[in-house]
Amino acid sequence: MKKFLAFLALSMLAMTVIRAQTSEVESALKRYAELRPGDKDLAMYRIDWAPSLKEAQSRALKENRPVFLVIIHAKYGDLSSGHC
């Protein structure tokens, strides 16, 4: 009987530990779902970016489309990747 009770106690302890860990996993996944930007927040990635003005103009001619050019008066900047 003592052995059985000891086994039961250990089993319950193990279950408690596993459940506690699982709840931490659930909590972490919930935080991820909260912080991961949705499609609406990622609207910048719906813009059809070309990596350079030269490539944009080449594509514009082929596809008969206008170019939207962002001119930055600075030494460094890569707007398409989000780096000012």
Partner: protein, 287 residues
Amino acid sequence: MRPFIATSWHGHRNDPDLPGAVRTVWREKFGRQSGDGHGLPGKQSNVDLAVLDAKGNLVHWFDGFRRMGGHHFPNGQRHESLGDYTARELQKATAELHLEGTPKQEHPLKLPDPGLLGMRVFITLLEERMRAYRAPVVEAVDLTRNDWKPLAYPDRKKTIKASLLKKWLSQLYPPGVMERTDLQTKQVYRISRIRGNLTLEPGGTFNNIRYALLAGRIILSDEGPNDFSYEGDIEIVLTYSKTRSMPQSLRGIFDGIYPRYNPINRSFREVPLLAAFEALPMIDKNP
């Protein structure tokens, strides 16, 4: 924005390879003596937006940040958002373009591709004073099988040096803020050091998928002067098949504080810096 192909160009007025459209915009911008919607002398921003037709002819341009009094707004409005201002200026351009036949449907969402083993990091600086800084930036980090070895399934709780994960943790900085830059190159200082220990421990099994939790506090320092550092907490869930130690998915977050320097009053202001991580294609839906 659908009809447009967007691109950016950066440089200075004395650059030898100034593109024709940029030359024209700046000649008009800096040559004007009075305001007419393109901006008054001394009040221009360093960002201009231009529309070119398919053949490369400049159709319309405007200062990226309007600089006119409220009495210039349409319908007597006192305020106009930057978005509304930009849309209004773009409408002026589209009126002059012949857009029949150009695609009108929305361009599909296209996030940077990290490759099969790589990591996507979604970084957001919760800056209250400049809303544009709140827009998330997505970084794609190429990783190899070796980069995943420290995150092999743990049979029991173990400690991992955060520096072993530097390849992707080093993306945890605000990429749209140019205050930690090299004065010569104007390049943003990269994260050079990551300190802290993370714990990786089993997180239970569900539907034959094994879970592990990676958590802890990390301190990031950049390569610039003054040992500039900031810190935050990592909380990441990894999944594994029953038989393999290599993770099959990763999802998690960074929750930190970035100290923004204010050169006017020479003080630091704490701004939340948040990130979400996701990697590996076998993303499971329900733990």
